[in-house]
Symmetry: C2
Subunit: 333 residues, 2 copies
């Protein structure tokens, strides 16, 4: 396999057991996650797990897309709408109707004629929260950014408020309770917001409203951070992303499929709490307060295994995918 | 179409003529490109255009992937290898054999047994050039980054050396002769290098060498900037990217297809100068020294059309796709 980009082995290794051999190999993000202890993992609340089953396309296994919904304090009015829509089985029989390369895959009711459940309205809400999640972080905004100390400043620090170096879209960015977010201002003036990364799910909207959550999209390309604070980010795909990212690109206006025959029908969408065998839909993430996560970020920002000759010295927050894994009901996670 | 993300209309509008109606609409990156003058466009050298035709999959049109090769001073030893490999028809009959979601699609000789043309060896070369392309740009590294002036500093400035705000991977980044690059140090100590963005093409390599260019990959997810300066970036896909990004993801080790039956055969790879009807393979890019490009970047960084309520005030260099369009041999570009 001499010609492979070795880092790409990461996703394959996430749930691999640690062996003596692996412990002797260079430290990588994958090896750090593999060596983490079970008590560093946090189960995702079942009411935050949304499952979308796509129509059978003849493949051997069902095409299930599993989405983790955004926890408080972010985007909750839309998240509540999404739970209501799922419980009303509103998406059943709708479709994936729009796919734009390096942009988004979008689904819902392309006819725009399907009545919404009672109470599902476009929230009158902002996309930011004034909660100061940054605590007493070092002030990136006034850091001495002459090269040497700037390179140092790009090195992630421990625990809540890990610094991901400098960012064109926000003064501050961090990962908190398993989610990346960005912010500006400081202390009492702090504003923070969830961000658009690959696989993140947002609420399509028109020019007049914030959208209800009935029409959703997943990012299938480079993070469109210019949408941050302009659209509600309500979740992220944690399993089955390839079902959305490999779909035929649309050739109609703005990437909408030209005919409904091109759509991918949605069989059903449910919360994990509302499906049979709920125990099969449990996931956990590596606590972003854990020592292993801090080491994982440090390794992401400073790859020093054999493949890398020049460690970056920093990392884009969207290149720090929080490790998430399925919980085997048989207890072998 | 009320639920669409309007910015996504950009790729569809690139070659649209300017109408009086459009001129009255809000300024967007698309409207700026549409309003550019013909003399602001620069033809890509035909010897820098590489065409890869994938085997017929029953679709109506041939699946052609068009790659623009990296111009000097970047990555030239590998680019020369790639021209030699194409002229030797080395890739004909090889395949696309590896696809990893949010990572890369990779092609070449999966058997690793095919002899290389004479003279195609792994270059002993670095990935940086010491050419100071930044000229006398403002020194981002020591900018006053207290919030207000920092927001200002994120606004792109004109011409060569547009600033894309702050970047976790490099002190400096710019777009020059149609290509994004990054750099560090200043003046006589300047080092600059090409970067990994969505659609960019790099040279797969092993741990011991820099690779020859026979095994290539295209980025199909969020820019893996940690690979910058660790792998040779040799080009970018300028047409047909969807053929690579929609391929079934591999389930074998590191995303290699488990069986060769899953591979996508490559029918042929040629330089535009070596195919019949070369006049059908001409492309041009919006000069990155032009007024329209400066306005395009400014608009990318500060969207103020109706869809946007909060302009970002900055833009990731990988979110500033240089406008590239096909030249119609009939003269109607």
């Amino acid at each position: 396999m001499k010609h492979l980009l070795l880092i790409a082995a990461l996703p394959l290794c996430l749930a691999a057991p640690v062996t003596a051999q692996e412990e002797e190999e260079p430290v990588t993000p994958a090896s750090i996650v593999a060596a983490s202890s079970p008590d560093e993992w946090v189960e995702i609340a079942p009411e935050d797990i949304l499952i979308m089953r796509l129509a059978d396309d003849g493949s051997e296994a069902p095409r299930d897309v599993v989405i983790q919904l955004m926890p408080p304090p972010f985007s909750q009015p839309w998240v509540q709408n999404i739970r209501t829509l799922a419980r009303a089985r509103w998406w059943d029989g709708t479709s994936v109707y729009r796919v734009v390369d390096n942009w988004v895959t979008q689904w819902g009711d392309v006819s725009e004629e399907k009545a919404l459940p009672e109470g599902v309205v476009s929230p009158v809400a902002g996309y930011e929260t004034s909660k100061d999640l940054f605590g007493d972080l070092p002030d990136v905004g006034t850091a001495d950014t002459t090269q040497e100390s700037w390179i140092q400043s790009m090195r992630p620090t421990l625990r809540l408020g890990i610094q991901f170096g400098l960012d064109p879209y926000a003064l501050r960015r961090s990962i908190w309770k398993g989610w990346p977010f960005a912010g500006t201002h400081f202390g009492d003036d702090s504003l923070v917001w969830p961000i658009h990364c690959y696989g993140h799910v947002g609420v399509a909207r028109d020019l007049e409203t914030t959208g209800t959550g009935s029409e959703l999209y997943a990012v299938i390309g480079h993070a469109p951070r210019q949408l941050d604070r302009n659209i509600a980010v309500v979740g992220r795909v944690i399993e089955g992303m390839e079902h959305l990212s490999t779909m035929k690109r649309g050739t109609g206006d703005a990437g909408v499929y030209e005919s409904r025959e091109e759509d991918t029908p949605i069989e059903w969408v449910r919360l994990a709490t509302d499906v049979e065998e709920s125990e099969h839909w449990r996931y956990e993430y590596l606590s972003t307060d854990s020592d292993s996560f801090a080491a994982y970020v440090e390794s992401r920002a400073n790859r020093n295994d054999a493949f890398y000759t020049v460690p970056a010295g920093g990392v884009d927050i969207c290149n720090v995918q929080v490790p998430i894994r399925w919980i085997d009901p048989e207890g072998d996670s």
